[in-house]
């Protein structure tokens, strides 16, 4: 299950918005090799890992890769 932490990890202040750059960043999140795709792969592949350490690592990274989606 998922719980959501109602705070950002780091403070964010955008002093000069840049549409081109924003488009690039969004592609990184949602594109074919984006954070979201990677996150889903890790979270699904951890079930077939042979060691506890591997399961834990994929869980941690998969969860962490979901974080950028929250920033949107």
């Amino acid at each position: 299950m998922w719980i959501y932490e109602k705070k950002l990890e780091h403070p964010v202040r955008i002093t000069r918005p840049n549409v081109k750059f924003a488009k690039l960043v969004i592609t990184q999140y949602g594109g074919p090799d984006g954070e979201l795709s990677a996150s889903l792969r890790y979270l699904n592949q951890r079930y077939s890992m042979p060691t506890d350490m591997a399961k834990a690592t994929l869980t941690d990274i998969g969860t962490e890769e979901s974080a950028p989606v929250g920033y949107k």
Binding site: I3, Y4, E5, K6, K7, L8, E9, H10, P11, V12
Partner: protein, 87 residues
Amino acid sequence: MMKCDNKQAALLRKIQEMEFVAIELNLYLNTHPCDQCAQNDFNCAVEILRKLKDKYECEFGPLLNFGFGSTTKNPWQWSEGPWPWEM
């Protein structure tokens, strides 16, 4: 970045700083599990972080939903602003 914009922002900034310490030490201990100093530092950081979060949640509402945060008098505070991207 206006750290002293208001009390809420300032306290949240302290939480972010302490959390950074805890995360970094956690990651370090993943590869250096026998480092006693780091373990002690981590435990101290966690203690401080918990106190800061309790203080924040008491005044400004929960940081976690579904009952994972501290209980507050007003149970509807979760849905109240400001939300993280509005701060």
